[in-house]
């Protein structure tokens, strides 16, 4: 009985890891190591100009934390703080879509001064989303004098697809591009108690993209 339980738990643990991830990278010009180990900062922003989806703020925070956790010398400015400091230039409707747009922005003295004050060297635009790809199964829950419980099985999939574009503020050009795709299947068996076995699809995409950005920005990777 004990070994069966252990085997079941092991199987459940293995199911939790069932996420496939792919990362592609196109690098035009990587920074010199000393470029970012100084006082300069980077900012990671989500694209939100499309009408049918928005890059999740949670994902942007996740990538930023991933980078800072792995290399404390890199200063990652919060997305909201950056947007507030440069309001209204980076709102969804006004954000620059091409590196060339930065030059026009720099023509406005207060914007130029603010960017210099923030000392932002690189900007990373992340575009994409995590979607649910479908589900199957059913579950019934009930409650009675003897207690409550559920019985059934449910499953659903998630797909993450993100692309990161790196802009150099100084040279006002795109210097790198990378993308990550991850997909996974989550399960929810229920025999009295529902046991969620969640595939960390978005987390895997976050780690994949974060690692690639670290290779770009960090001297340690």
């Amino acid at each position: 009985m004990t070994s069966k339980t252990a085997a079941t738990l092991l199987a459940l643990g293995l199911l939790q890891g069932c996420v496939t991830s792919t990362v592609d990278e196109v690098l035009y010009q990587g920074p010199e190591a000393e470029d970012l180990v100084g006082d300069a900062s980077i900012v990671i922003m989500g694209r939100r100009h499309a009408s049918d989806y928005e890059t999740e703020p949670d994902f942007i925070q996740c990538v930023g934390k991933h980078i800072q956790r792995r290399d404390e010398t890199i200063t990652v400015m919060s997305e909201l703080e950056f947007m507030n400091q440069l309001y209204p230039w980076f709102e969804p409707r006004t954000a620059p879509l091409r590196p060339a747009d930065i030059k026009r922005m720099m023509d406005v003295p207060p914007v130029r001064d603010k960017l210099a004050e923030l000392n932002t060297e690189y900007m990373v635009w992340i575009d994409g989303e995590t979607v649910r790809t479908g589900g199957a199964g059913s579950m019934t829950c009930g409650i009675g004098p003897g207690g409550a419980g559920c019985f059934g099985f449910g499953t659903w999939g998630n797909d993450s697809n993100y692309e990161a574009t790196i802009w150099d503020f100084t040279d006002q050009e795109e210097v790198g591009r990378m993308s990550t795709q991850a997909s996974g299947q989550s399960y929810m068996p229920a025999v009295v108690v529902p046991i969620p076995i969640i595939a960390p699809v978005q987390g895997t995409a976050c780690d994949g993209l974060g690692d690639q950005l670290l290779e770009f920005f960090s001297a340690e990777y």
Binding site: D58, Q85, L86, Y87, R93, R104, V108, P110
Partner: protein, 241 residues
């Protein structure tokens, strides 16, 4: 009209205890509605200020703007979302970042009353209105997506009350996730995003409104020598004026 008269008569006819019970029931019904007083921090814009002295008038309807969504069934609840105070705060933060001087006015200039010239030093008076508002709240969507779409109508008057320009602009706000927050907080966030968007749209496109552009050209010529820069000069879509 007759319906309202009937209800007043019926209300007066009930006993004091019955009236108290009716008032209590009304109060309880109001308490059941989800109420959101929109609150948010609005950043000061980073712009080249236009060398203009602008008066701004918020009419009472604008200051107290709210929208009410009545529940369609017993499972749903009413929603009251008050946006008036927040949008006044947003414009009070935005406009001083756009213009050299901003003066809050208590009355609107009228061109049919000569004695209502507000301030001869003013270049113009701006009057914003909420023209239209659409929203989706959980009652409608059944999912944790909260969206607010607004259309503002702006009027720009000369200090003597002559209408110089009138135009509309839209704004949109959405909370992408409602994790770890109440529905009220998520609606508040959607409204704040919509107000930020309204400010961004206004700031970037004010000088591009054809009538405003014409007025600014005339003002520039009248001042002959004073340069009035274009607020949207460095925006991605267009070149300088």
């Amino acid at each position: 009209m007759s319906g309202s008269t009937t209800s007043v008569s019926a209300f007066c006819a009930v006993t004091p205890i019955g009236r108290a019970l009716l008032l209590l029931a009304a109060a309880l019904l109001t308490a059941c509605a989800n109420q959101v007083e929109v609150k948010g921090q609005f950043p000061t814009p980073v712009l080249d200020r236009l060398p203009l002295k602008i008066g701004v008038y918020y009419d009472p309807e604008f200051r107290a703007h709210e929208f009410f969504d009545e529940a369609d069934s017993r499972e749903e609840t009413d929603w009251i979302v008050r946006t008036g105070q927040a949008q006044v705060e947003m414009y009070n933060t935005l406009l001083p970042g756009m213009f050299d001087q901003v003066v809050l006015l208590n009355e609107l200039p009228r061109d049919d009353r000569v004695d209502t010239v507000i301030d001869e030093d003013l270049d113009a008076v701006l009057v914003p209105h909420v023209q239209e508002l659409q929203y989706s709240i959980p009652n409608h969507t059944k999912i944790n997506v909260f969206e607010i779409w607004m259309r503002y109508r702006y009027e720009l008057y000369a200090p003597d009350g002559e209408l110089l320009a009138e135009w509309s602009m839209t704004s949109y706000g959405k909370t992408p996730t409602a994790f770890l927050q109440t529905a009220e907080a998520a609606v508040n966030m959607a409204a704040v995003v919509a107000l930020r968007d309204a400010g961004a749209n206004f700031a970037m496109n004010f000088a591009r409104v054809p009538e405003v552009r014409t007025w600014m050209d005339e003002l520039r010529q009248a001042r002959s020598g004073t340069t009035i820069p274009d607020l949207g000069a460095a925006s991605p879509e267009e070149d300088t004026l």
